[in-house]
Symmetry: C2
DNA sequence: ATTAACTTGCACACTAGCGTGCACTTTCGG
DNA sequence: CCGAAAGTGCACGCTAGTGTGCAAGTTAAT
């Protein structure tokens, strides 16, 4: 299990993970064979890179979590509404990983693992919500953990169920999050106009 | 296959469908055995009532669709915001069927069938949205079909992912729908106060 | 009480997926 | 060019689930 020396092996390993991310995003129970074919390899070859189907899933989760948590760390807007909007917008850039994580989070078998890996992101959302409620920027009719959960599920829902190819998809995601957070649609639009970077590609 | 004469057979058939609705709501791929045990019968007995696992699923879908479409027919509020809120609130009463339908709608294998069965409900939502946008009651930054879809997915998300046992769950569902529809949280609260029946048990 | 309807338990064949062993071929790196 | 690393294809045993046949038991309706 020492560091692989051959270039093609390294590329193939990455290809498997990329294929797995895509396949799992489409169906959390995607078979080894499906993943292998998508990566242009035989089913048998995957067992040279990973012990197990679970090992692949674990790496997919870890890769996604690393990206998400990095994004969450970058957010530093003073206004919680802008922070939430930026979070949604930035996560959109990682759509493939978000879809995989979202699909896995709905799958009982890997629920524990995904929720552990996404804990930092969740903590961040709760913190933003708390701050926003205290500042009167977000709705206060729901307790912070409930609202945070609802926002997370909303993001998951939009990513999983709205055509990611659509040019307005990102804007829909941001608007949905802001709507759940308590803003009226005109307030949400005004916020987007003040921060054009949120809708930028 | 003539009309069954025995009382227990009729009861058992209903019990199977009820068990299937619950089991499928929890996991759309619930096995025949899981459903049978939940209904207090042996796996073998189910094949006396239904040809097939698909036959069970089809009946679950049909039963849910019948209830949903009946509810959609009853809604006649002039204000589209109230109509949407009432729709969410009424559907909550059929939580078990909604959960099953929501789970099946996420399952590729039965997607076509569920979407066909829910077509009347969907048409109704689109009609309400169109009317609401024309009247300036709902957001106009999204095309009616997109907003209708988003509202439907929001309802699905809340039913599937929020603890249905919670006493405030119904109110959360209604608020989420209104938030996506474009209302601010204070507007949504005001609407709920004017129509206390929307939150009633 | 009798009978037909219903249920049960078991065995069976079938499918899909997983993980492994092994012989063989391809291909990268020195 | 050579050798080791990587990939292929196939067979195998395993699990979990489906749908069927059949003999035997149980129970509702007349």
């Amino acid at each position: 299990m020492s560091t692989p020396t051959r270039r093609d092996a390294v590329e193939n390993r990455a290809g498997i993970l990329s294929a797995a991310t895509a396949a799992i995003g489409h169906d959390p129970r995607a078979s080894i064979d499906t993943i292998a074919r998508r990566a242009g390899l035989s089913r048998r070859a995957l067992y040279g890179h990973f012990d197990d189907r679970n090992a692949i899933v674990r790496e997919v989760i870890a890769a996604g979590a690393a990206r998400f948590n990095a994004i969450a760390d970058e957010i530093d807007d003073a206004d919680s509404r802008v922070a939430l909007a930026r979070l949604a917008s930035e996560l959109w850039r990682e759509a493939a990983h978000v879809q995989a994580a979202a699909a896995l989070a709905l799958d009982d078998a890997h629920l524990a693992e995904t929720s552990a890996a996404l804990a930092p992101l969740r903590r961040r959302i709760v913190a933003i919500v708390r701050r926003g409620q205290d500042a009167g920027e977000l709705r206060t009719d729901l307790p912070a953990p409930t609202l945070a959960r609802l926002l997370e599920e909303t993001g998951r829902m939009v990513v999983a169920r709205v055509d990611a190819g659509s040019s307005t998809a990102r804007s829909i995601a941001v608007c949905a999050v802001l709507g759940i957070a308590g803003l009226s649609w005109t307030e949400a639009r005004a916020l987007l106009e003040q921060h054009p970077d949120l809708e930028a590609q």
